[in-house]
């Protein structure tokens, strides 16, 4: 097992390097310079000034030198500074991470809590009314453009019904509130975004749960249990559910890297300063340090997540554990 683990980890390194190289090249291929964002066609900003800025930011160095310098910094866990405001990239990330993670965890929680029972119960009677109704509902969330749903939700629940705030994370006077009230204030602001994200995310998992459960219910041991005369509920929960849950747990492992990924669309519509917007703004402003840092971290987490999922699967499935028949 340890040998396998080490080999897999070693295999990650070239992939990561490849990713950093590709993202660097893409950013450099994109026409435009990081200094454009600051200058915005300002008649008062002369060509000399722009050239000076480029020199100061190290952008006049040959490309390979820039890349290697960046690589060297990353090896020391230094992601350098953003071109847009000069602050450390790490600071930017740490600022935005909590919001994104909170929203994603909340949505994940809700999705699991709703989608799994939905899928399982639909599987009990495939093709029936409940199955068809939930399929359509869940697919609507999956098939509609996210920002459209978000906007309609805001217009209806926020403007017409006045139940929830339109956007943002805090009320104006949030800082005068006590800790508890402030927490509730944030939660109130997050209901719409998390709600829309949950609605959009239900489809994938519920279909998986449904097909997994259907697969399990077809198995011989289920028929045996039924033939033995066991009550239906016991058949379902004791024998069926447990086995259907295994692949779902694998999915949980695979979703972990997505926890830090923010949806730029949702964050823009709801004015939430998260990782998605950070990324989008950085790409548009050619802020390569931020972009490369985010791509690298994201890729690392994805690769680790895949590895963990593989390991968990291998561990849980006794057939694989007992030794390789390879």
């Amino acid at each position: 097992m340890t040998g396998y683990l080490l080999r897999r980890l070693a295999g990650l390194v070239p992939v990561l390097l490849g990713i950093t190289l590709i993202s660097f090249s893409v950013m450099k291929l994109a026409p435009g310079e990081p200094t454009d964002a600051s200058l915005q066609f300002n008649p008062k900003a002369s060509l000399e000034a722009r050239e000076r800025m480029e020199k100061l930011l190290g952008l006049d160095q040959p490309l390979h030198r820039q890349y290697l310098r960046w690589l060297g910094r990353v090896a020391r866990m230094d992601f350098d500074r953003s071109f847009r405001d000069g602050r450390l990239v790490t600071e930017h990330v740490l600022e935005r991470l909590p919001v994104t993670v909170t929203i994603n965890v909340a949505a994940l929680f809700l999705v699991f809590g709703i989608a799994v029972p939905l899928g399982v119960f639909a599987a009990v009677r495939p093709g029936g009314a409940f199955d068809r109704l939930t399929t359509v509902l869940v697919f609507i969330g999956y098939s509609a453009p996210g920002f459209w749903l978000a906007l309609l939700a805001i217009a209806w629940f926020g403007v017409t019904l006045h139940w929830f705030p339109v956007s943002g994370l805090h009320s104006i006077d949030a800082e005068t509130m006590g800790l508890l009230r402030r927490g509730l204030d944030v939660a109130w602001h997050l209901i719409l975004p998390v709600g829309v994200m949950t609605f959009v995310g239900l489809a994938g998992l519920s279909r998986y749960a449904r097909s997994g459960m259907m697969e399990v219910l077809r198995q011989d041991y289920i028929r045996t249990a039924r033939a033995k005369g066991l009550p239906e509920r016991r058949v379902l929960f004791r024998h069926g559910l447990g086995n259907a849950l295994l692949p779902i747990i694998t999915i949980l492992g695979l979703s972990l890297p997505d926890l830090i990924a923010g949806s730029v669309v949702m964050e823009t519509v709801f004015s939430i300063p998260g990782m998605g917007r950070l990324f989008y703004d950085a790409v548009m402003a050619r802020d390569q340090n931020v972009v490369m840092a985010l791509v690298t971290i994201g890729a690392l987490l994805t690769l680790l997540g895949n590895l963990l999922a593989d390991l968990a699967y291998a561990y849980a499935d006794p057939r694989i554990r007992v030794g390789s028949a390879r």
């Binding site: 994109a30 026409p31 435009g32 310079e33 454009d36 964002a37 600051s38 200058l39 915005q40 066609f41 300002n42 008649p43 008062k44 900003a45 002369s46 060509l47 000399e48 000034a49 722009r50 000076r52 800025m53 100061l56 930011l57 500074r81 847009r84 405001d85 000069g86 602050r87 930017h92 600022e95 935005r96 906007l151 805001i154 217009a155 926020g158 403007v159 006045h162 705030p165 339109v166 956007s167 943002g168 994370l169 805090h170 104006i172 006077d173 800082e175 005068t176 823009t268 519509v269 709801f270 004015s271 300063p273 917007r277 950070l278 548009m284 402003a285 050619r286």
Partner: protein, 540 residues
């Protein structure tokens, strides 16, 4: 105590409000202070230091935290801000500023001439990431004569210099040991302006509070909250729910979306001409556009009023040259010619373009008159203008293709490298009519702003002279001539000057639209206590 929120207003109060609004401010008792102004912005600020602030959000905030030596008043005249008075020497080479006494930084230290010199030193410092250095390159020296007097010597007379001293002054005692590019001051600035910095939640909100020691007087509005709302649709919805007080409207929103009873009751809309213009620029190195007749023909064929009526819903004015009507350099004798397609066709025929093969498209030497009009992505108004211009020129017999390009690529690959035929863009100008950077023949290097390649010896001379003379009457004569030349030569087809369309919650009093905007007297805005929405944070 909960913030008082009022959404309904009874008729008596409405009457009282309208009466009060019609009285001059001086006739009222001292206005009550309190409440907060919530402003919506598409982007977040990046650096809160005047000499480094380049994006508009940073600029907005910095404008409230810092003052310059001079400023424009509501009649667009140059008046003193930090400077109590100033004198320009007869030869135009020296400007001496006398600062107001008793102006203090937000930390209590006095603002002195040393700070002015320090600001200048940093502006020309090659290690500081400031793009504004060019206006200060002609300075020979900045001397501190005494704590309140500064003498600036120029190598040549430079009239736009006065405007350049509207740059916010930065504190020497806090910044002289700092690396301006990375100092934490950029996130927690200390200025001397009407508002003090309170907090900045990145990507969300910047909060400023009134400076009780401001040298004019303490602003009546206690708090200024700058909310970052990147989506325009969301921003409008926030306006509808009353969580934004001040926002800019698009022409469509102004005309069609803000007529609901709720908005009419709770908000006031303003309009004033913005200082800038939208234009079609022609690449003068392209043989087709090098011919002045072609450009003049397009000038006649493009119906500017139709553009204004259609895209701006009438909220703009046709432009005949590079100056809006409010500028003193504008020559009112130049009228926009009425659209005349026949005359345009005649001009083009003179230049060799007519429809020889009967396909509806003008041609010359067997090649059809077809070109691509490029513009930048993200500007709804400009996109619609492009489509209308395309239509209008098609009626003339010219085949126009439209290409919309993302901003960075647009600037780098197309504008800077002159890889364009015609471009649809806008300029946002400073009040000083100096257009040297835009139209002087020397400014044609890659990355400079005379990217159309205009070169006229007369205009060159006029632009050089206009910079060297301080007498406004003389400058007016010069720049009016520039206006005439540009209108005739038409390196651009000047389309229109759009209006700025702010909308503000009605509870704010003492607000008026002027050529310089509505926030020039922000410190005088106030809200009657009965209508205040947001409680004070500090017991003052």
């Amino acid at each position: 105590m909960r913030p008082r929120q009022r959404f309904a207003r009874d008729a008596a109060a409405a009457l009282a409000v309208s009466v009060m609004l019609s009285l001059p401010a001086a006739a009222q008792p001292e206005p009550a202070s309190g409440d907060a102004l919530i402003v919506s912005s598409i982007g977040d600020a990046s650096r809160l230091l005047p000499i480094l602030a380049t994006d508009s959000a940073s600029g907005d905030i910095v404008g409230l935290l810092f003052n310059g030596l001079l400023k424009y008043n509501e009649r667009l005249e140059i008046v003193g801000d930090l400077a109590e008075s100033w004198t320009v020497s007869p030869d135009g080479l020296t400007i001496t500023f006398v600062l107001r006494p008793n102006v203090r930084w937000h930390d209590g230290e006095p603002v002195t001439a040393e700070d002015v010199r320090f600001t200048y030193e940093k502006l020309i410092d090659p290690t500081v990431l400031t793009p504004y250095s060019s206006s200060y390159q002609l300075i020979d020296s900045v001397e501190v004569l005494d704590p309140l007097t500064v003498r600036v010597r120029y190598r040549e007379p430079f009239a736009p210099a006065l405007e350049s001293w509207m740059m916010g002054i930065i504190p020497k005692h806090l910044l002289e040991q700092e690396d301006l590019n990375t100092t934490s001051f950029l996130r927690r600035p200390i200025g001397m302006g009407p508002y003090r910095f309170r907090r900045w939640k990145t990507g969300e909100l910047i909060e400023l509070i009134a400076n009780p020691d401001y040298f004019e007087h303490r602003p009546f509005i206690d708090r200024y909250l700058y909310r970052v709302i990147p989506d325009q649709a969301t921003s409008f919805l926030e306006l509808l729910t009353g969580r934004v007080d001040l926002a800019g409207l698009s022409p469509l929103q102004y005309r069609r979306q803000t007529d609901t009873p709720y908005i009419r009751q709770s908000y006031r809309k303003f309009r004033y001409p913005s200082f800038g213009f939208t234009y079609v620029g022609y690449n003068l190195q392209d043989a087709r556009f090098a011919d002045r007749r072609v450009r003049q023909a397009f000038n006649l064929a493009i119906d500017k009023q139709a553009l204004i009526d259609g895209v701006l819903f009438g909220l703009g004015a046709a432009a005949t040259g590079p100056y809006p009507q409010e500028s003193w350099a504008y020559d009112p004798s130049i009228q926009p010619p009425p659209p005349d397609r026949e005359a345009a066709r005649a001009l083009l025929a003179e230049a060799g373009w007519s429809d020889h093969d009967g396909d509806g498209v003008l041609d010359r030497d067997g090649r059809p008159f077809q070109f691509t009009l490029i513009t930048n992505q993200g500007n709804e108004v400009r996109r619609q203008v492009a489509e209308l211009v395309q239509q209008q020129l098609a009626a003339l017999g010219v085949d126009v293709r439209i290409r919309i390009i993302e901003w960075s690529s647009f600037v780098h690959e197309f504008i800077d490298k002159r890889r364009f035929e015609a471009v649809l863009l806008g300029w946002s100008l400073s009040r000083d009519p100096d257009l040297y950077d835009l139209f002087h023949s020397s400014k044609i290097r890659e990355g400079e702003y005379n990217f159309v390649g205009y070169a006229s010896p007369e205009v060159d001379r006029l632009l050089e002279d206009g910079r060297r003379v301080f007498d406004q009457k003389e400058r007016q004569r010069i720049y009016r001539k520039v206006h005439q030349h540009l209108a005739e030569d038409a390196p651009y087809t000047f389309l229109f000057v759009p209006e700025a369309l702010p909308i503000l919650h009605a509870r704010f009093r003492n607000v008026a639209a002027t050529p310089i905007g509505i926030t020039y007297n922000l410190i005088d805005w106030h809200v009657p206590p009965a209508e205040q929405r947001y409680r004070r944070l500090t017991p003052r």
